[in-house]
Symmetry: C2
Subunit: 559 residues, 2 copies
């Protein structure tokens, strides 16, 4: 199968229309039945597959960057009597376990991006549920800030996954019912076991939607609420939109190469070495200078490339289980760019958007089911926002001292000893999905320690001190470095990928939980389990048998 490409643009959409009308945008879903990303199924009733979701992901992103005047987004369907039927069931039934899990993860991230657009960027989403919203279709609405439902005597919202497919509403549905919309658990139980769903009046009464309107008033009600949301928006001002030009991604057997990010692949070892290259120039003096650079502005360009690389590797390279993460370049230039953005955030939408995008990309890394090792070497630039990359990793290896003697394999000139630099960026600017900074989550229950680290901000810290401060795991010297990294990678490659995934998912999120962490931890873990069970995915399982006219056959043992 051809690799999945997450890059697209509105000119190439097959499933969505993106309409802009002043402060209000509309994303209209009208899935091309014949436009599935893989053969074997038709996207009837606005059901979606990864291809539809890639377009949705792209549309959300472009609204933030290319349409800064938009202050509210209406998400609706172009079909009559149908909002969205959720994930395509035949697609799910034919997908392998890793494909299902990966698809659900990206879908969840895209739903979170909808919520974050409202919370962070003053682009609130309103689901205009103009017909049946079933399963993932209702979950898509649940991710919006408001749900307006047509009351036409037939439209329903439903979560039929449990009764029809023997799987969970795993794209946030169960969590968002009780933890976002505060629906009572017993009513949520009824909703999630009633395949025919709930019509408008009961949906409003139970808190499943925010407003209902008869067909004759539906359009105006949606518009009124969208205008009200736009009026409430605190979107920062700034200049015109930035065009998100196509990424320059070169793929070869050896890896991937973008202007600011490279990835070297070692298939035999199951390794990929990712290097983020720092800015080649100093930061512009103001956001006006950043705007002139457009999509080439380093923080935006590097984040786009890294985000694309994460998605590419997660989806297309599932046997590369360990990612080594490096940086290369000038720490001062990294910090200079971050200072520009931090200073302008709040008054300039572009500065805010770039930082929120970096936050989402780091969160994507946090939930990536790969072992992540940071390699902090001489010549690297793990400073401020790039230090977050290292802190997101499962382990941090930092070279103690300088390369000794034979520089050839590592660097052409001696860059001096490896250092890391803490900055304000590490103390809350890029919170994890649990709402904590990566340092707070690294030192759980020890806020005093984090406060002390804050006093070290701005100063290059060498390996010995970084080890003492608890910022790195190991600090071998030049003599031991290659062996120690090699052994760690070989050890990792010898372990069960499933056990590592489960272990990493549990260790990465110390501290408080939020709906997002509940979705990726609790809900997703249960969904992954249910997906593997014969009652869903076995030859007689309900997911496999759906649509055949035969019911699923269940082992009745409760586990």
């Amino acid at each position: 199968m051809a690799p999945v490409d997450f890059g697209t643009d509105p000119g190439r959409y097959r499933h969505l229309r993106l309409e802009i009308d002043g402060e209000i945008a509309r994303i209209v879903i009208e899935a091309d039945e014949q436009g599935g990303i893989a053969p074997g199924y038709e996207l009837k009733l606005n059901s979606y597959d990864l291809g539809v979701d890639i377009e949705l992901h792209d549309a959300i992103q472009r609204l933030r960057f290319s349409h800064p005047q938009v202050r509210a987004v209406v998400l609706t369907s172009g079909l009559d009597k149908v909002f969205c039927a959720g994930a395509n069931i035949r697609m799910l039934a034919q997908a392998g376990h890793a494909q299902k899990v990966n698809f659900c993860k990206f879908t969840n991230e895209t739903r979170n991006a909808i919520e974050e657009a409202g919370a962070d960027s003053g682009q609130a989403y309103l689901a205009a549920v103009n017909g049946n919203a079933a399963g993932g279709g209702y979950e898509l609405a649940l991710a919006c800030d408001e749900i307006i439902m047509v009351d036409d005597g037939s439209a329903s919202v439903s979560l039929p996954e449990v009764p029809l497919l023997a799987v969970l509403p795993g794209t946030g549905g169960l969590t968002r019912l009780v933890d976002k919309r505060n629906v009572r658990k017993d009513l949520a139980d009824v909703v999630a076991t009633r395949s025919e769903g709930v019509r408008a009046k009961t949906a409003l009464e139970w808190g499943l939607v925010d407003a209902i309107a008869p067909p004759s008033k539906f359009g105006q009600t949606v518009l009124d609420r969208a205008q009200a949301a736009a009026a409430r928006s605190r979107r920062a001002p700034g200049g015109p939109g930035i065009e998100l030009t196509p990424l320059d991604r070169q793929v070869s057997d050896e890896g991937l190469r973008y202007p600011n990010v490279t990835a070297g692949i070692d298939r035999a070892a199951g390794l990929v070495t990712i290097t983020v290259h720092g800015p080649r120039t100093e930061a512009p003096a103001s956001m006006a200078g950043a705007r002139e650079q457009g999509a080439a502005f380093w923080p935006l360009a590097a984040t786009r490339e890294l985000d694309d690389l994460i998605l590419w590797l997660r989806t297309n390279e599932t046997e590369l289980g360990t990612w080594l993460i490096k940086t290369s370049g000038d720490a001062a230039a990294v910090l200079g760019h971050e200072r520009l953005l931090a200073g302008a955030a709040g008054q300039d939408w572009l500065a805010g958007e770039i930082r929120h995008f970096a936050k989402r990309t780091l969160r994507r890394l946090d939930v990536t089911s790969r072992s992540l090792f940071a390699l902090i070497e001489p010549g690297s630039c793990f400073a401020g926002p790039l230090l977050e990359l290292a802190l997101a990793c499962d382990r941090q290896f930092m070279l103690n001292g300088q390369w000794n003697g034979d520089l050839a394999p590592h660097a052409s000139t001696d860059p001096g000893p490896a250092t890391i630099v803490l900055s304000a960026a590490n103390f809350g600017a890029f919170p994890m999905s649990n709402g904590l900074s990566r340092l707070a989550s690294r030192f759980p229950g020890d806020p005093g320690r984090v406060a002390k680290l804050e006093q070290q901000a701005g100063r290059p810290v060498e390996a010995g001190e970084a080890l003492d401060l608890g910022l790195v795991t190991f600090a071998p010297d030049d003599l031991d470095w290659d062996d120690e990294i090699r052994i760690a990678c070989e050890e990792r490659a010898s372990l069960s990928p499933d056990a590592l995934t489960g272990m990493e998912a549990n260790l990465r999120f110390a501290g408080q939980e939020t709906p997002q962490t509940k979705i990726f931890g609790r809900l997703t873990a249960w969904q992954n389990w249910v997906f593997t069970r014969p009652n869903a995915s076995g030859p007689k399982g309900a997911l496999r048998r759906y649509g055949t006219g035969q019911a699923g056959v269940f082992d009745r043992n409760r586990a």
Copy 2:
């Protein structure tokens, strides 16, 4: 196979010794290698199976009720150089999926009981790690309030599940490392992937243990710390211990019968109907009167029976997927007993212990993977603490009005309409493992609603009002009752048990999370998933191959 019986007493222990010395008790584990609860494995190196854990569970409970003078408990091993090797691997390898999951759940509950003994009852546990503590052995120590480790140059603490078995340290290990002991995630990653574990000095440095001592000083160090813990204990005073006499449990094809709890089984429908009978007499005037009744005192007796029944059904009746929960008796007598206990708690250890036990039993119900429906009928006594039973359920059905006409199937005399009674017990006395009352978790994000309900305490509430207050899900009248319950049960029985388990686990815990909910939600869910994966449990999986001399063969795809 004979059903598993969770009842035991120290006279029958095969694996533990319980030693009492004034304020300090010792639980000494010395597993009888030939004493496994099932054939096929030997309990070498203090490895444990369900039988060992049943004894541990019994010992913890008896210390609280029968040895009230105890203020600190030392948990140690009777073997030389070995503390505990964790769950027996051959036992795990030969167990079916439901058995593994059930075993882990009970083990987790028993670990939580250790923590709760310190937090609630002034009986702090100290793990005296006198030799290797591996896997579940170290997880057992992690559940204690303090860990003292011998520094003899060879003893180690380790979590070798991932590297040796391709499963997780799923008995709280990963969660307790980062969320209880605040171990840095990168160090936790090293611990959980290094099969040989960590010796004493590094264990202390990384926060894996609280103190270390050379062999010559180990015993005294443990004793000193136990005495210090006893001195800090705020265990309430009171009279002598209560003997926990053997339960009177009658098992037949039709179900189970205890003096205060009955369970009727309908195998064809996959149903069990549990009825908790209220007190037959008024509450005694004081705790002295309760002491005279001993283990027959209703709140203690009924809780013991319900707890035993939950364990029995969970373990021995895995195909009975729906539990209908009823009560029968006098609400005033229920509330009278609770008033006595609530008034004395804090000054009287027995009153406190009974309520903490009820809290643990309700929590056991919260994590039980069965569909739970409360049936609130005329003649029931869902008041105060027994109302918590209904609130723990996934749905609450309450009969609106009285039985009409033919009373025979339901009651011999007309008890009047069904009512429920809120009391102080429903507003924080029996918190769920998320730290919230069941009402707070029922109305997440709406504390005002809970405060308003508090004003209704003490007053019988009939079905119509209960529905309006959101305390019950449905309130059919006599004409519809039987059909509505039958249809709900048939619907439930038609659904996939796995999907229901996952759904219920996600809906029952709205609101904040705690280490306990993380263990049962996040960690357990991932462990269940890992258990089902071929890399662990397939014919070439590491768990199945352990000890054969052959390494596990892994599918390297990351899911």
